[in-house]
């Protein structure tokens, strides 16, 4: 009879709190978005599943390991505990993923037209105005964000998952779940968020601008570029060096042509393994007390604002460049500067085709697209530097 009571007492239903039930539904909702709606499934499937696991009452996925006085283990920690502390708290998983992303990135279009780096810079305006929005909400007592929270929320506007996770795990780990979910969800919503803004800020004539074909890029340029970027980062902005250093390392492995087996593993087995565990680890931070509050609503709202402002800034920057140069760019590719690789570039291409069915902007948009990755990593570095000193 005691056993029956013990079994019942340890059952999920007996221990279940409302918050956990709601969070499990949130997890199922994320899985629905990922599987049925195609929202960044590579991350949202593990995050959604991790959310459910972390909220199973009594399952101990988040359990802290217990050691006796001699250092022998009395009871092991939970799977998500180990994943979070080994891979996310240390920053290792986002950095390894950045290495993999580097190994998958083609800098060719950027090298053919380096001025598109400025579009990638402009789109980061969304990050910093969102920071201002977050501190504003806090100032007026609507929500309660510290400057570290605000900086982490802003980085959603970088439209770059690993960067957002890296910054948030350093500055505001309690917000990790909400910020990661917002970042990946909005990246998936880019085809819905961006086009109206792009159309509102451009004339049909501007959207129809044809760009000259990109020049060929040599292998030597491709090899030297990641090293150039690395040296510049090292000299000027060491705080961005972890992210951009690993990014450049991955890209150098890709382009140098002599370590293809390493590059191949980095792009496949390694990044896949780390993606699974990164997602589960982020899910482990999706607890009711951290997610089910007004701040999360604020984060979701501010994240959407960040994407909109970033998109608008990129388009406006392109128009500014056109007014200063005779070598016109199609302002639609400015929207790709938010990164969200390669989704935003595809959106630019699609909106461009509406205006002129013969105008293929995809390659031209890849330049600002990867520039946006560099831009938000730079923004992340400067944010970590400044906020740590505040």
């Amino acid at each position: 009879m005691d056993n029956l009571i013990s079994l019942w007492a340890s059952s999920g239903i007996a221990q279940l709190q409302l918050g956990q039930l709601v969070m499990m539904s949130v997890g199922l909702g994320l899985l629905f978005l990922a599987i049925k709606k195609g929202f960044e499934p590579l991350l949202l499937v593990p995050i959604g599943f991790g959310t459910i696991l972390a909220n199973i009452p009594g399952a101990g996925f988040d359990a802290v390991p217990v050691y006796d006085a001699l250092g022998n283990m009395e009871s092991p920690g939970g799977l998500l505990y180990y994943i979070y502390h080994a891979g996310i708290e240390t920053g290792l998983f986002p950095l390894i993923i950045f290495m993999g992303v580097g190994a998958m990135t083609d800098f060719g279009p950027l090298l053919a037209n380096p001025k598109t780096l400025l579009l990638g810079a402009a789109a980061q305006v969304g990050i910093f105005t969102t920071v201002l929005g977050a501190v504003g909400l806090s100032h007026f007592g609507i929500l309660d964000f510290s400057i570290r929270d605000a900086a982490s929320i802003g980085i959603i506007g970088g439209a770059d998952g690993p960067t957002a996770i890296f910054v948030t795990s350093k500055l505001a780990p309690d917000l990790l779940g909400a910020i990661a979910v917002a970042a990946y969800s909005y990246m998936a919503l880019v085809p819905i968020i961006q086009p109206p803004i792009m159309r509102a800020l451009t004339t049909p004539a501007e959207r129809g601008i044809k760009m000259e074909q990109l020049r060929p890029v040599t292998k030597a340029e491709r090899i030297v570029f990641p090293l150039t970027l690395l040296v510049l980062v090292a000299m000027l902005l060491p705080d961005a060096a972890p992210l951009l250093g690993m990014f450049c390392f991955g890209n150098l492995m890709r382009e140098c042509g002599v370590v293809n087996r390493l590059s191949d593993t980095t792009q496949n087995a390694l990044i896949n393994i780390v993606t699974i565990f990164l997602g589960l680890g982020v899910g482990s931070k999706m607890s009711a007390e951290k997610f089910l509050n007004a701040e999360t609503m604020g984060i979701l709202a501010l994240g959407a604002v960040a994407f909109c402002i970033g998109t608008a800034s990129g388009v406006l920057m392109a128009k500014l460049m056109n007014s200063l140069s005779t070598n016109k760019v199609n302002p639609l590719i400015g929207a790709a500067g938010v990164s969200a690789v390669p989704m935003a570039a595809r959106v630019a291409n699609k909106v461009g085709l509406e205006a002129n069915p013969q105008n293929f902007l995809l390659m031209h948009a890849m330049g600002p697209n990867v520039a946006g990755v560099i831009g938000s990593a730079v923004a992340a570095g400067v944010m970590i530097n400044l906020v740590s000193g505040m």
């Binding site: 083609d106 060719g108 279009p109 090298l111 053919a112 380096p114 001025k115 780096l117 400025l118 990638g120 810079a121 980061q124 305006v125 990050i127 910093f128 105005t129 920071v131 201002l132 977050a134 501190v135 504003g136 806090s138 100032h139 510290s146 400057i147 605000a150 900086a151 990109l214 020049r215 060929p216 890029v217 040599t218 292998k219 030597a220 340029e221 491709r222 030297v224 570029f225 150039t228 970027l229 510049l232 000027l236 902005l237 890709r254 382009e255 042509g257 293809n260 590059s263 191949d264 390659m363 890849m366 560099i374 831009g375 730079v378 923004a379 400067v382 944010m383 400044l386 906020v387 505040m390």
Partner: protein
């Protein structure tokens, strides 16, 4: 205290965007210089078209897969 929060936000905006723009503008120049120097001194044939990756087509196929494919095709040809 709270107004200091706003001030901090403004500082972040000012110095943050300033750094991002400064860094990427510098990168534009340095990249152009790099390309010019590399293409002048490396003097290598232009073998790659922009937009196509360095690792395309059969280059990424591992030797053992390529071998398997070749074997399969040879076998197929032999069987006819």
């Amino acid at each position: 205290m709270d107004s200091s929060l706003i001030a901090q936000g403004l500082d972040l905006l000012l110095y943050g965007m300033g750094t991002v723009f400064t860094f990427l503008t510098l990168l534009v120049g340095v990249t152009m210089l790099m390309s010019a120097l590399v293409n002048r001194f490396a003097a290598e044939e232009i073998e790659v078209i922009a937009g196509a990756s360095a690792q395309t087509g059969s280059a990424v196929v591992e030797p053992r897969i390529a071998k398997a494919i070749q074997a399969a095709i040879d076998q197929h040809r032999g069987r006819k």
